[in-house]
């Protein structure tokens, strides 16, 4: 869920030992804390440098060379997948219980040349860039140059797309007005429901075959297309089974040679599990996890969909297995925790596939955004928490790995015990779990037309976007740089950074007589840019439906089988396209500054303000300070600013929400998130009228601009909930907290109350960054961005910025001591 962006604060992967393993590991026991097996596996996962594996590309190229044109595209894709599952190098690591890797070893990432083919230069860039490197050996680069690149040149999905985009789109794209997800990776964002715990691949294949048998070639005009889809799906089921069987064979082989009797027994158990799943529905907790893992691997091997794959409500899916086995004595809590930990490490072994082209230069994140949902509601509307939910919280707290992401889902029915347990993990300061409002996102989905049950079974994947798990293709199409739209409005359609045309002519703002006139011009640009975006997204959608269908993914998403249609071709029950709008805070504050200083008070002329912005406020510090200190900004529970934010949000909705995409009644909706794209968007922009300097990040998600919220978290919550979140497909609120605000257990409870308050008022999501010393040091360097940093001590509170250097130093030292 991430695009060509440098991230400012990557979540560091820290070794367990440096973390003190949080708990003392017990000899011969599995809990509390990581046992030696998990510590070893975790260390290997964390220490391994990501590499590129060219194996998949070699298999695929050879397969396409031999077979392209012989079969329909869906069948070709399925056979290609089968071929790779049959041939790929397997990995079964020492001590592993959950098995299977996408590459030949942990953190070896394949390439997907059918979508985007890396050049030799790309590999060199990936080998040497400062952050988030992926290394490839020279030998592999040479092989790639010889075997892979010549075949795919001119035939990749990316080239197909860029050869057809209109000039207006290209200009807006190059100006950084929006990004396009699908030019680099396949549309994704998929989470599963409970189907794979009820049905194995053989059961699903039987359903497919029954459908084929019933085909009416005489009367159904789509019969042939459906037949090809179903054939492809059936082949994909076989591919997953073959892949598992090969692991079973390997485990048996290794067991024969194994001298350690305990490991021998484990290997035989692994073989037994892999013989059973995914062919059949799982019977045990272990099989259930391995079942999901094989499906996960299948979907991320078939294509490289955004945001990997996601088990959805994993605790709810695993609960029946856990309870049954605990009751029958075949599983202990500790064993369950160990298996979950093994699974967590598996996900961490799978970094996101790297980009190609100029965007490869920009480092990204290894995170592939598998976001496991914990808690929430069940399809019948009852509370979804169980012992497994708490078990997962333990695992998250102990393992502390980059992936998978995780989130807790809170409804009015969720017990406080769960919320407080989650808040304890939040206090550790890893940035997760993030917290979602199940009651509100169920409403969001119902508004989008989902059934109540499907909505409740849904949740949030990737970052914050909502979808009906297991039944929906909800594709993120790209980020929209809303402040940049204002920037080109203030320059009559020209991008001031490059001097090139980026939008349409909406008039010289110096001639505008009123704020309304300015705002109307902004809306015209907004609608123009969004229409460009939608037009090309629709085109790309069709390209995927035609050239890169995903038959394996279609097997596990309802109703692709019954409709006989691919996941990318309107097969799922619901089909949504999202546009992610960024920078609400920046655009609101900029409009607020223009409104107050130019139009309402008239103390500053438009010419002067635009001149100052063009000069990056050089020589205009007085004006910049006046704006920053004397303008109502979003996030302070001040209607003067919040009303502007509500207006922009509603106008974004009017421009996007409900527009048809071209898939079986599917529609566009918006969500308000930026992941880390606000950093990239900031880089392509000059200064903004809110006093933000050129190149600096714009605001993220629906959060206030950095440092603009100076009235504490309760005011932020009040401002944010003036937006009607139910009309979105997700909003994002980041809150910075100093550890001193979470010192006592009582403070943790109050954090819970803050969350409940936000959710009662209709907030969708909140996450807390517990500020560490590094942030405070950054705050000393750039005080303007950190005006919100509140230092709370008993009987005293102040803003970090309001302290002098010595006292800031003292707070930094205290923060070090208070870190959890």
């Amino acid at each position: 869920m991430f695009e060509q962006i440098k991230i400012s604060n990557p979540v560091p992967e820290r070794p367990a030992v440096a973390e003190g393993n949080f708990y003392k590991p017990l000899e011969d026991k599995i809990g509390p804390g990581m046992n030696p097996r998990i510590q070893r596996l975790r260390k290997l996962s964390v220490d391994t440098e990501p590499t590129i594996s060219i194996e998949r590309a070699l298999h695929e190229t050879a397969f396409y060379k031999e077979n392209y044109g012989k079969y329909s595209i869906p069948v070709l894709r399925a056979m290609n997948f089968f071929d790779h599952c049959e041939k790929k190098t397997l990995y079964l690591g020492d001590g592993e219980l959950i098995v299977g890797e996408r590459g030949p070893k942990p953190k070896a990432v394949p390439t997907f040349p059918e979508l985007t083919c890396h050049s030799v230069e790309d590999f060199h860039v990936l080998n040497t860039r400062d952050m988030q490197r992926y290394t490839t050996t020279q030998e592999d680069i040479d092989t790639y140059e010889r075997e892979v690149i010549p075949y795919w040149q001119g035939k990749t999905q990316r080239e197909r797309i860029f050869n057809h985009v209109p000039e207006e789109w290209k200009r807006a794209y190059e100006a950084g007005l929006f990004t396009e997800f699908m030019e680099q990776r396949a549309p994704g964002h998929t989470a599963l429901d409970g189907k794979i715990y009820q049905k194995g691949m053989l059961d699903l294949k039987r359903e497919i075959e029954e459908n084929i048998a019933k085909l009416d070639y005489l009367n159904d005009p789509e019969a042939t297309d459906k037949a090809e889809q179903w054939k492809a799906m059936a082949i994909s089921c076989d591919a997953a089974i073959v892949f598992a069987e090969r692991h079973a064979d390997l485990a048996e082989e290794m067991a024969m040679k194994e001298s350690n009797s305990q490991r021998k027994a484990e290997l035989l158990k692994i073989a037994e599990v892999c013989r059973w799943v995914p062919a059949h529905a799982p019977r045990t907790f272990w099989e259930a996890i391995q079942m999901y893992w094989f499906v996960h691997l299948g979907t991320i091997t078939e294509l490289n969909g955004w945001d990997a794959m996601n088990p959805g409500h994993f605790d709810q899916h695993l609960q029946p297995f856990y309870e049954k086995e605990l009751a029958s004595g075949t599983l202990t809590r500790e064993e369950a925790k160990e298996l979950l930990s093994c699974f967590w490490i598996k996900v961490n072994n799978h970094p996101a596939p790297p980009k190609v082209g100029i965007t490869a230069r920009e480092s990204g994140t290894y995170n592939d955004f598998t976001n496991i949902n914990i808690g929430g509601l069940r399809p019948d509307g009852s509370d979804g928490t169980s012992e497994v939910s708490y078990l997962i919280l333990n695992v998250i707290e102990e393992l502390h790995v980059l992936q998978p992401g995780n989130s807790v889902h809170i409804s009015a029915k969720t017990p406080d015990r769960f919320l407080h347990a989650a808040a304890h993990v939040i206090r550790q300061g890893h940035g997760y779990p993030s917290v979602f409002n199940a009651d509100v996102y169920v409403m969001e989905m119902i508004r989008q037309g989902k059934s109540l049950q499907d909505a409740r079974e849904g949740g949030c994947s990737g970052c914050i976007e909502v979808g009906a798990f297991g039944k929906e293709a909800y594709l993120l199409t790209g980020y929209l740089n809303v402040p940049k739209i204002l920037e080109i409005t203030l320059n009559n359609g020209i991008d001031p950074v490059t001097g090139k045309v980026a939008g349409i002519e909406t008039g010289d703002p110096r001639e505008f007589k009123s704020y309304d006139e300015l705002y109307d011009a902004f809306l015209k640009q907004l609608n123009f840019v969004i229409d460009q975006k939608i037009r090309v997204s629709n085109y790309i959608d069709r390209m995927f439906a035609k050239y890169a269908p995903a038959p394996f993914l279609s097997v596990v998403i309802e109703d692709c089988i019954s409709k006989g249609r691919d996941y990318y071709d309107g097969g799922p029950r619901y089909n949504t396209s999202y546009i992610q709008c960024c920078g609400l805070g920046t655009v609101t504050d900029s409009l607020s500054a223009l409104k107050k200083h130019v139009f309402t008070e008239g103390r500053v002329t438009m010419d002067r303000l635009l001149g100052a912005v063009a000069k990056n406020f050089e020589g205009e510090e007085f004006l910049r300070q006046t704006i920053m200190n004397k303008t109502p900004f979003f996030g302070n529970d001040n209607d003067a600013a919040d009303d502007i934010a509500v207006g922009v949000y509603n106008d974004l909705l009017a421009a996007i929400d409900g527009k048809p995409n071209i898939k079986d009644g599917g529609k566009y909706h918006l969500n308000m998130l930026s992941t880390t794209c606000h950093v990239y968007f900031g880089k392509v922009m000059g200064a903004t009228p809110n006093g933000r300097l050129a190149g600096k990040s714009i605001s993220d998600g629906t959060s206030p601009s950095h440092g603009a919220d100076t009235h504490g978290p309760s005011a932020v919550v009040k401002s944010l909930t003036k937006l009607d979140h139910i009309k979105s497909g997700g909003t994002l609120l980041n809150q910075r907290f100093l550890p001193s605000l979470l010192k006592r257990d009582e403070d943790i409870k109050k954090l819970g109350h803050l969350i409940r308050s936000y959710f009662t008022l209709g907030g969708h999501h909140i996450q807390f960054n517990i500020v560490d010393t590094a942030t405070l040091l950054a705050a000393q360097q750039c005080p303007d961005d950190y005006k919100d940093l509140l230092v709370r001590m008993a009987g005293y509170s102040d803003y970090f910025n309001d302290m002098n250097a010595d006292l800031q130093q003292e707070v930094i030292e205290r923060t070090q001591n208070e870190a959890f």
């Binding site: 004397k630 504490g712 309760s714 409940r756 009662t760 005293y796 002098n804």
Partner: protein, 324 residues
């Protein structure tokens, strides 16, 4: 009045009729939302300006004077001269050290703060009406409902503004908002009882037990404070005791032992004690007031000492904790 307090025993000030307040309005210097250390739940704390005491360690020195004050931070000043030009009294002057205000000329009109682009100049203290405060408090209602929080009136000494405070307490009470009063306890007993009738919870400061020492460190003897606390406890009021814990001032065995005994002897439910260890993070506030703060011997007691003190309270059956 600040000057008066600093010249000796100021106990007579209790009879001072504070002109900046009446039943409709009073002088406040700050509002803190998401206050989590000022009573139960999530609260909004309203700080009333003016205090009878002048504690050597005061963390909010701008709270002492019951008048509007001008605050100035040289490090935020960009020397733009705007305030100098805007001042109708010609009281401001730009010097190499920053803006210097002539107190003889300054009428505290606040125009300088209004035009200052960087908030280097700010005014501390503004007259607020009961209606205005209630509107601010109402904004936080959802957090009260969820957390069992409410409003806290702190200061300064809120009881110094008794007419205003009583109106505020009544107005919040009518709206079902939980009310906490954070007090030094230095007030006429009848006023304290009048306030107590409309207060759900008290945070009651207890600095030290020996009156002479108390006078030395705060300029006021503690007889009335102790007596008021006994009377208040006897009414059955809900009270948390707050003790600023300062090494070399009140952390000695003798004082702690006496304090623990006293707290244990109070009528009603056992009072909980919040120990607030001294720190000097508020130094900047003194700078802004143009005052000098000398920490002298004052320091934060070591963590081990804090623990020992908690045990001394525990020996008397009193639950003490750091923070809160």
């Amino acid at each position: 009045m600040t000057d008066l307090v600093r010249t000796g025993n100021a106990s007579h000030l209790i009879h001072f009729k504070f002109k900046n307040q009446n039943m409709n309005s009073g002088l406040i210097f700050d509002v803190k939302r998401y206050a989590i250390n000022d009573g139960p739940g999530i609260r909004v704390t309203i700080f009333l300006k003016g205090c009878y005491l002048d504690c050597a360690w005061c963390h909010n020195p701008e709270s002492i004077s019951p008048k509007v004050q001008k605050l100035y931070s040289a490090d935020k000043c960009i020397g733009c001269n705007t305030c100098v030009e805007a001042c109708p009294e010609n009281a401001c002057e730009l010097t190499p050290k920053g803006i210097v205000t002539d107190p003889a000329l300054c009428k505290l009109c606040g125009i300088c703060a209004d035009v200052c682009p960087t908030k280097a100049t700010e005014m501390s203290g503004r007259i607020a009406t009961v209606e205005e405060i209630v509107a601010i408090v109402e904004k936080e209602r959802i957090f009260f409902d969820q957390s069992g929080g409410g409003v806290t009136f702190s200061g300064g000494e809120p009881l110094m503004h008794s007419e205003f405070l009583i109106s505020l307490l009544d107005a919040c009470g009518e709206r079902g908002i939980h009310r906490t009063v954070d007090t030094t306890g230095f007030a006429k007993t009848e006023i304290l009882l009048d306030v107590a009738r409309r207060t759900d919870h008290f945070l009651y400061d207890l600095k030290m037990m020996d009156s002479e020492r108390h006078k030395r460190w705060t300029n006021i003897g503690n007889e009335r404070i102790l007596e008021n606390l006994k009377v208040l406890a006897a009414t059955g009021a809900s009270i948390n005791i707050r003790i600023p814990l300062i090494k070399g001032v009140n952390d000695d065995d003798e004082n702690i032992e006496a304090t623990a005994q006293f707290v244990a002897s109070l009528a009603g439910e056992k009072k909980r004690v919040n120990l607030l260890p001294y720190h000097n993070i508020m130094l900047k506030k003194y700078e802004k007031l143009g005052e000098h703060f000398d920490p002298g011997i004052m320091a934060e007691p070591e963590k081990s000492r804090q623990k020992a003190i908690i045990s001394m309270f525990a020996a008397h059956g009193v639950e003490a904790m750091v923070g809160g």
